[in-house]
């Protein structure tokens, strides 16, 4: 997918490969690369999942793999949690139940 210049995007960059990581960290952490994600405007036309250059909102230049165009927020209030409803009922019943 071709992405036009100046689009707001999210890129991913590898900061440290496993062999470059700090010493004395847990094995499961040291065997994976250290990655970074940052957003900004594309400095040129680019392809999704290819290497691109962006200017971040603070004005820095960063290079990395183009991961997402016009990135959206995906976090939410989560799924229904039965245990939470049960706690709510316990609290209300302990506090006001006898009245």
């Amino acid at each position: 997918m071709l992405v036009e210049k100046s689009k707001f995007v999210r890129i991913r960059k590898y900061l440290l490969l496993p062999n470059e990581r700090a010493k004395n960290i847990p094995l499961e952490t040291s065997k994976v690369p250290m990655k970074m994600w940052v957003k900004g405007r594309l400095n040129h036309e680019g392809e999704l999942f290819e290497d691109v250059e962006i200017t971040t909102v603070s004005g820095r230049i960063e290079k990395g793999t183009l991961k997402e165009v016009e990135p959206k927020y995906k976090h939410s209030y989560g799924d229904y949690v039965e245990e939470l409803q049960r706690m709510r009922e316990i609290i209300l019943s302990e506090m006001w139940g006898e009245e």
Binding site: L16, P33, K39, G78, I91
Partner: protein
């Protein structure tokens, strides 16, 4: 790739000095110690200055609320005449929604005064939002670094929400995968940009909270004509407790006890890619609370201004399930949808209030805004997705990373006391090969808040 860890380490002192505007060598003593008082006074701020600059930034002067329903709830499980009043300082009322705005206000003011064009902070939590909001108000650029994703690109919902908040205030957010090398990334950004290091652990970051302790004492005095018996602070890096305790002392409430409270995450490794998403609290837990108490200077400045062992009278832990329970109780009994921060202290306060006479006052010194991602519902939904078992039972049997145990009744919320002497001994361990001078010992007595006899006894052990 991005940078070389060893090279950055060599330039570490130089980068920090340039980015904080403080030469920490000015405070070093001969031997192991340093002059803490001199460091705190070197900022040039008085408490009045800080009140003024916070007021200008819509920070501080937050309500102190008596939680009457929660107090009555605790009294149901207290013996007659017991059940101290539980008060909550509603820090969600600050700009950006948490007490961290108090710290940010002072750092941003200093950055502006010293002529920096922007600020950088490494934080996954409320401090990022606070720095971003106050930088926006001051016209400074802002970069926030977060430890956010595990190697499967899964993020804590709470941290994603904080990234959104920072971006809403116009900041650049660099999201990183798990690992302590965040610190090196932080240094490389400081070096690249020449921006101010808005460290949580600089004197500015701590002085900003002194107003919180001071306000609590004055508000309690005005309404109840006495000082609070106990103030509980949720403890992670130690700054919250240190600043609050200093403020309480400055208000002259010398009889008020200051307790620390952390969520018990024993067994989870903070630098582990695997453990990262198996916890339901990203701060206020023992994974920060313990190591930062034992070694405050493991922070991003050479000498941390956050030194909790100097000020802590007691230290308690509580399990994740109990904090969720009390978070829910705060919402349905007091109409306050807040947290998770601050509710760790509230869970501890709920239990301790039952052991104190009903005319006493116990203050929970902070709360925070909540919302999508941060709310306890997404946190629990996320825990379930990570195969954490949600159980009702004995909260003291919870195994962090495996299960979350909710109390079946509020009466089952129990706390564990952490031995301060054990922490002090761990603190002293790194000096076991040092020949301690008189000056060293004076430093350690202040550092650990103990007498010379006690110090000698702990060293012997």
């Amino acid at each position: 790739m991005g940078y070389n860890v060893d090279d950055l380490n060599k330039r570490r002192n130089e980068i920090i000095k340039k980015s904080v505007g403080i030469d920490y060598s000015d405070f070093e003593n001969e031997g192991i110690g340093f002059d803490y008082t001199k460091m705190m006074e070197s900022s040039g701020f008085t408490l009045d200055n800080i009140f003024d600059l916070q007021k200008e930034s819509m920070v501080g002067d937050t309500p102190l609320v008596e939680l009457k329903n929660l107090t009555n709830y605790a009294r149901k499980y207290s013996k007659k005449g017991y059940g101290a009043k539980i008060l909550l300082k509603d820090e969600a009322a600050n700009l950006s929604g948490s007490f961290k705005a108090r710290r940010a206000a002072v750092s941003i003011h200093k950055a502006k005064e010293l002529g920096y064009k922007g600020v950088v902070a490494a934080t996954s939590g409320n401090y990022g939002a606070a720095i971003a909001a106050l930088a926006a108000k001051a016209g400074l650029k802002c970069i926030i670094l977060q430890e956010c994703f595990d190697s499967n690109n899964v993020a804590q919902p709470e941290i994603l929400e904080k990234a959104r908040a920072c971006e809403a205030y116009g900041a650049e957010v660099m999201q990183l995968s798990v690992g302590p090398e965040l610190f090196y990334t932080f240094m490389s950004v400081l070096e690249e940009t020449g921006y101010f290091n808005a460290s949580l652990y600089s004197p500015y970051g701590i002085m900003g909270i002194e107003t919180l302790g001071y306000e609590i004492v004055n508000q309690v005095r005005n309404k109840y004509n006495k000082d609070p018996e106990v103030v509980i602070c949720t403890n992670a890096g130690g700054g919250n407790l240190t600043g609050t305790a200093r403020g309480i002392k400055k208000a002259g409430a010398l009889g008020t006890l200051v307790y620390g409270a952390s969520v018990d995450l024993t067994g989870l490794h903070m630098a582990s890619d695997k453990d990262f998403n198996r916890k339901s609290f990203t701060t206020g837990h023992t994974g920060f609370g313990m190591p930062f108490a034992i070694n405050p200077d493991r922070s991003d400045v050479p000498r941390s201004a956050a030194r909790p062992l100097r000020y802590m009278d007691k230290y308690y832990t509580v399990n994740q399930g109990s904090v969720f329970f009390i978070t829910e109780a705060l919402a349905v009994l007091e109409g306050m949808e807040r947290g998770p921060a601050g509710n760790t202290s509230l869970a501890v306060a709920f239990n301790l209030a039952q052991t104190l006479p009903e005319n006493q006052i116990i203050v929970v010194q902070e709360s925070e805004y909540t919302g999508a991602g941060k709310h306890h519902q997404p946190q629990l939904s996320f825990a379930k997705k990570n195969n954490i078992k949600l159980i009702f039972g004995n909260p003291l049997e919870e195994i962090p990373g495996e299960n979350i145990i909710f109390p079946k009744s509020a009466k089952d919320i129990k706390v564990k006391e952490v031995s301060l002497d054990k922490l002090r001994k761990s603190y002293l361990k790194r000096f076991k090969d040092n020949e301690l001078t008189h000056e060293d010992k004076v430093f350690l007595m202040e550092e650990l808040n103990i007498s010379l006899d006690k110090l000698n006894e702990l060293i012997k052990q």
